[in-house]
Amino acid sequence: MIRVETQDFDIGAEVKALTAGRTDIGAVVTFSGLVRDMNDGAVASMELEHYPGMTEKELARIEAEAHRRWPLQASLIVHRVGKLLPGDNIVLVIAASAHREAAFEAASFLMDYLKTRAPFWKKEDRNGAAQWVDARESDGKAMKKWE
């Protein structure tokens, strides 16, 4: 399942919804990404822009690819858009499987692919100036390890 929305998510509630009534899931891995402000107040807020239509298609492709590679019982990708503050949740990925190796690898894969392929762009309000966040080279490298 995938969702793109402005509102916050509750990790516990999302995991419960994915696992409720099932006894074939042995391992659930969640990843949540948060707005950081490492420099004590430099980042006042962040704006998440995206490409409506393609975003949903790309997230669905990424999720389908994870299910093709690992035996997953359930999965979820939630990405927020709009204005966010330091400490706010940005993204949630959940992978549920019978065994922990598959759950860990699939969650990590989902994030690496999302980081390099899902059409979102971050703009920080940093010391009063709007500034588009640069892509990290390490994200490209992280994705290459799955090829």
């Binding site: 490409y51 393609m54 980081k115 966040v133």
Partner: protein, 83 residues
């Protein structure tokens, strides 16, 4: 054909989306960019460094060589930074 621009590409081009009639001679994304650059300084600015330009044709990732014949939507944007 609809053209879409996102993030700083949109900001530099000064436009979010537009409907255009591409010359029939244009075969690929590189051709679309060349044509746009000839149309105005704003596009020349937005597409000055092609190493940091990404594109999608009909909402699928493409590159400079992706054909555009029959496409209904082309989007231009910087490397993605979500997650």
């Amino acid at each position: 054909m609809r053209l879409l621009y996102f993030a700083w590409v949109k900001q530099k081009a000064g436009i979010a989306e537009e409907d255009v009639a591409l010359p029939a001679t244009i075969r690929d994304v590189a051709g679309v960019i060349d044509w746009l650059k000839s149309r105005g300084e704003n596009y020349a600015l937005a597409f000055a460094d092609l190493a940091v330009i990404r594109c999608a044709v009909d909402q699928e990732h493409g590159d400079l060589a992706t054909p555009v014949a029959g496409a209904s939507e082309i989007a231009f944007f910087p490397p993605v930074t979500g997650g």
